[in-house]
């Protein structure tokens, strides 16, 4: 690797440590705050340095990619390998940029071997991106899944010329690409199962095996069985044919047997993960009833050790509950008799999350928690869904939590001032409109603003790499992807009764007031049942972003006063004139600035409480 490449990767690792905010023991709050400030500053310096490294080191190479010699391309590959390797993901966006350039070079020079390899690598990058979009509709994620699948499909097409391609490594890429075509979601489980089945047939074909005996065929086949067994997680009743069930069952049994044998050989506890697939396939083929399946899942969840932070244990404690809740969502009549169990389940999970040592398998933990958030079952006395979401924010995206808190404080303060002058201002919100008593009306409006501020960015939880772990400014594609946080947030909030009323705020807070710009297209301001509140949150989200939160990844940095002036300049276009008119009043602005500071400090106080 080139020195700039090594430094870039070292900086990424350091930034990850700095943003995870390791605190010293016995710190008081002021020390914690000072340390957090220092860490943030250092992370920003590192990020700036990284930008310089890319500008001076990488971009000129990409600029001249068609001129690059073998050594340079080998270094680029090694560098990309450091950015994303297996589960270790440091900078998938840059990884994709590098491999895109290498693919262009391979296409230009008609270097088939490298073309196949680059298609595989780029496919893996896209997989990593699409894998984060848990909970979004297929329509919204299709672009990313298609990009991934097309890369794998193109590389896999060379299977027809397996004989002519004599290089063993390239043959391996072709086979792995073929297997990876089944990654990601499909329109039906059958489609996915058919795809995996075809891969299995290819891998088990003696003809191919004899041509390249050096490849790890057993491993390929076993991993494909694992892939087939995992497809059960996404299946629902009546969505699989009997042939599908038979295919999955065979793979589930193979994986189950092998994992148990391995555990026995090593003298370890029987693995929990394959047991879930084993029970579920038994349910799908009628050997277990729903009650029995749910009871077996409860056994699995209850049997997990809450002090065991291995991936297998996390799976039982968090991921199995996600699938358990999925069944309950599909069969809501099962909920009343399990109310108490569900309530305890979520408390247990949150306690577990609080005790997980930071950075210990956090990627898996985070994935499982996102699965859980998308199937969350809310009951009368259960943990509130919004609290669950905020807990995730505090743990995994503390920066977003701090930002949300600042927006909430500013919005609440501002709404209070508006309500003092115009008590009917938020009467587009039905609940507020119904309240007649002025003080109660004001109190509700302020509470609404605070809740909206806290929840407007919950969708960002799926884009950890863009927000919490970013160590440089975004590329255009990343900027576009970040837009999905609005839809994601609206989907999450819309799905639960206690948060449904705030969904429009998550959806519309980046939409311009005059409709000329912003996103997403799905937001229709004039049809929004709380558009004045959306406007308020949009305004303070922007102010907080340009002054504090987003400067790292967008490169925009303004003081609070500059931001307010610019908001007024954008009056009637980006922001509602009904709101910006008030920003001309110095007293109001100073009130908001105080709330801005309070919000930030209060957010840190909450994080401090959580960590100590």
């Amino acid at each position: 690797m080139q020195p700039y490449q090594e430094e870039y990767i070292a900086n990424l690792k350091e930034i990850t440590l700095l943003t995870s905010g390791e605190e010293r023991e016995g710190q008081n709050f002021e020390e914690f705050l000072a340390q957090a400030d220092g860490q943030k500053r250092r992370a920003e310096e590192k990020a700036k340095r990284n930008m310089k490294l890319l500008r001076e080191g990488l971009f000129p190479v990409l600029d001249h990619i068609f001129d690059a010699d073998e050594e340079e391309t080998a270094q680029l590959r090694e560098f990309a390998g450091g950015l994303l390797s297996g589960r270790d993901e440091l900078d998938v966006g840059l990884y994709c940029q590098v491999h895109k350039a290498l693919l262009s070079l391979a296409r230009q020079t008609k270097d088939r071997k490298n073309m196949i390899r680059e298609l595989y690598s780029l496919g893996m990058g896209y997989y990593s991106i699409s894998n984060k979009l848990v909970g979004l509709s297929r329509e919204d994620t299709q672009k990313y899944i298609s990009q991934m699948r097309l890369c794998f499909a193109e590389a896999a097409a060379y299977l027809k010329y397996f004989d002519e391609i004599e290089d063993g490594e390239t043959r391996g890429y072709i086979l792995r690409s073929r297997a990876n075509m089944a990654l990601g979601s499909f329109s039906s489980p059958s489609e996915k199962i058919r795809m995996v089945k075809r891969t299995l047939q290819i891998l088990q074909d003696k003809g191919y095996q004899e041509k390249e005996p050096g490849l790890p065929w057993d491993r390929y086949i076993y991993m494909t069985h694992q892939q087939m067994a995992a497809s059960i997680s996404y299946s629902k009743d009546n969505t699989m044919t009997s042939e599908d069930i038979a295919d999955v069952m065979e793979s589930v049994y193979i994986v189950y047997q092998r994992r148990f044998q391995e555990a026995e050989r090593k003298g370890e506890k029987p693995p929990l993960r394959p047991s879930f697939s084993y029970n579920t396939i038994a349910y799908f083929c009628g050997m277990l009833g729903l009650e029995e399946l749910l009871a077996k899942m409860e056994d699995l969840m209850d049997g997990a050790d809450p002090k065991d932070y291995s991936v297998d244990s996390m799976y039982s404690i968090i991921s199995v509950p996600a699938f358990y809740c999925q069944f309950l969502n599909d069969y809501p009549e099962q909920i009343p008799k399990r109310k108490e169990y569900i309530e305890n389940l979520y408390r247990r999970i949150l306690d577990y999350v609080d005790t997980v040592p930071r950075a210990a398998e956090n990627e898996a933990l985070f994935l499982y928690l996102r699965q859980l958030s998308s199937t969350f079952v809310e009951t009368e006395d259960s943990v509130l869904y919004k609290d669950f979401l905020l807990k995730l924010q505090m743990h995994f995206t503390p920066e977003i939590y701090i930002h949300s808190r600042m927006v909430a404080e500013m919005a609440a303060a501002f709404c209070g001032m508006i309500m003092d002058e115009e008590p009917w201002f938020f009467d587009d919100i039905e609940e507020i409109c119904r309240i007649e008593e002025a003080e109660e009306k004001r109190r509700r409006a302020v509470a609404w603003a605070a809740e909206c501020g806290m929840l407007h960015d919950v969708g960002k939880i799926n884009f950890l790499n863009l927000y919490a772990q970013t160590a440089r400014q975004w590329f255009e594609e990343e900027y576009e992807m970040a837009h999905l946080h609005t839809l994601m947030g609206a989907n999450l909030l819309e799905a639960r009764a206690s948060t449904r009323i705030y969904a429009s705020v998550a959806m519309g807070h980046h939409f311009w007031y005059d409709g000329s710009r912003g996103y997403p297209e799905a937001y229709q301001r004039l049809e929004c049942p709380c558009r004045q509140m959306v406007d308020v949150i949009g305004l303070f989200d922007w102010i907080s972003n340009v002054t504090d939160t987003a400067r790292l990844y967008t490169g925009i940095e303004k003081t609070f006063e500059e931001a307010v002036r610019e908001a007024v300049a954008l009056e009637g276009r980006r922001f509602s004139p009904l709101l910006t008119a008030r920003l001309r009043d110095e007293k109001i602005v100073s009130g908001i600035k105080a709330a801005f500071e309070t919000g930030r400090r209060e957010a840190y106080r909450q994080l401090y409480a959580l960590r100590t």
Partner: protein, 613 residues
Amino acid sequence: MKGSKGYLVVERRAGDEAGVLYADSMACELSGLTAEELQSVDPEQTLKHLKNDVVALDGEHELWILDTACNRHRRVAELEHMNAALEDALKAAEEANRAKSNFLSNLSHDIRTPMNAIVGMTSIGLSHIDEKSRVQDCLMKIKTASSHLMSLVNDVLDMSRIDSGRMTLNEEVFSLPDLVHDIAVIVRPQAEQKKQTLQMEIGQIYEENLIGDSLRLRQILVNIIGNAVKYTLENGSIRTRFSQRMPENREGSKPEKNTVVLEFLCEDNGIGMSQDFLSRIFLPFERVNNTTISKIEGTGLGMSIVKNLVDRMGGEITVESREGEGSCFRVTLPVAVAVHSRKEQELPEGETVLIAEDRDDRAEQISGYLEEAGLRPVRTRSGLETVTRLTEAQYENHMPCAMLLGQELEDMSVLELASHVRQLAGRTFPILLVSEADWAQIEYRASRAGVNAFVPCPLFRSRLMETLASCGSQEGTGRQAEREREYGSHHVLLVEDIALNQEIAVEMLTMMGVQVEAANNGAEALERFQASPEGHFEIIFMDIQMPVMDGYEATKRIRELPRKDGESVWIVAMTANAFVEDIRLSREAGMDEHCSKPIDPKRLQEILDSRFG
């Protein structure tokens, strides 16, 4: 017989009909009956018109004096006949008056409704004048209401022209594909709004360039399809079909040369019409009343205008309908064929064309047209299958001559596939989009995805072949020459320090038809620009990181030059620096566009098109 009288004795008993007891010879002569026959008839009915006078003989008998010299009875008969006719006329007038009253009442309602919207929305807009988006919404609603009002007025004026015989038809050459696409653009959004399936099929078409009044023809067809949309419930379906046949040989006459019969069918599964209404459908001011369709607006003149126009064009319109099941309109019109020299398309016979389309009907139609033209269609249904086939074709060196992307694929959006195929197959491989979509809406995304050309649906053979031919020769001199004709007069300056990059970019730009000059760094670019006549360079493609003078500095200096084009020349940043901040910085430095490296030809083309197109 003038002045002669006849006599009858008539007996009239209580409860019985009157009967003739006696008739003299003159009475028989006047009545044209024998005495016996007269005794068997009812004199009140049969002889009423001859009865001149009556003399009561006693309580049961009368003497009737029959007289032809007196016209009273005839007059009475005539008067009664006239009365009946007048009654009929009155009834008809009353019926017409009822229809007109209904029309006026409907019209006043229909006029009042959009007027209410206009007045109301204007007030709302005025009271929220500070809320731009609110005002915008009001204006959009006012616009919709105004266009509706305009269409009402136009209908009334048309009917009045027809009534007064002032309606004339134009004779002009028009293109049937253009006409059908215009109609599709008008009616598709209406159907989409009601989530209806609107199928627009094209059958056998002999001639596409025709002579007639295309405006009136469009009015006929839009009216019929518009009614189908209006009277079909949400999620319903409407099928239209355009075809042609040769005129039939009438007995003893030769078929007219240079004429085809245009056949149009429109069937829907809407609310249908009663048999009673069907008999009145082409009368003015009639419209269906149905409670299942709310807010149906219109004058009730549309179908009457359609019928009049079809009659004037020498055609026929028929309708079949069943209440609750739907309606089917058929129009046949003889249309003159425009004399034109058919330009044979230069298509590479026997070459393969890849069709990526999941819809069977569309794929079959495209395949049919390609086969007729001597091409070999190969069809795929999914993105993955397409990429697999193209990769194999590339490996085996038998790439198809083009790819036709259809409306939908099994597994992904067509534009996602286009984007990957553009990378896989290279910049010169023609990718055509054959779609019902409105090109204006998707052009930006489609061009960015690498689509070279668009063929609108309903699909006409000529359109497909023309577009395919123009794209097919893209690599050859035909397209090159066309591009040179298009962009050949435009000069661009390429500023790039790396020789290989410069060579590739010059090649790409030359392929796109512009006149390219190259500079090796910012200082050289500045020098060249200063030395060129004003307005010579219209675009400067500027690398950012260069020795001697970088792209930002060069841009700044060019913008500061004391010449008019220093400010107006388009400067496009070409750099691998792809951060959002870089894009912003290039804009701040005075650059107009950003094109990231490695250079993507479709992006270059997009920039040229937006500057020169």
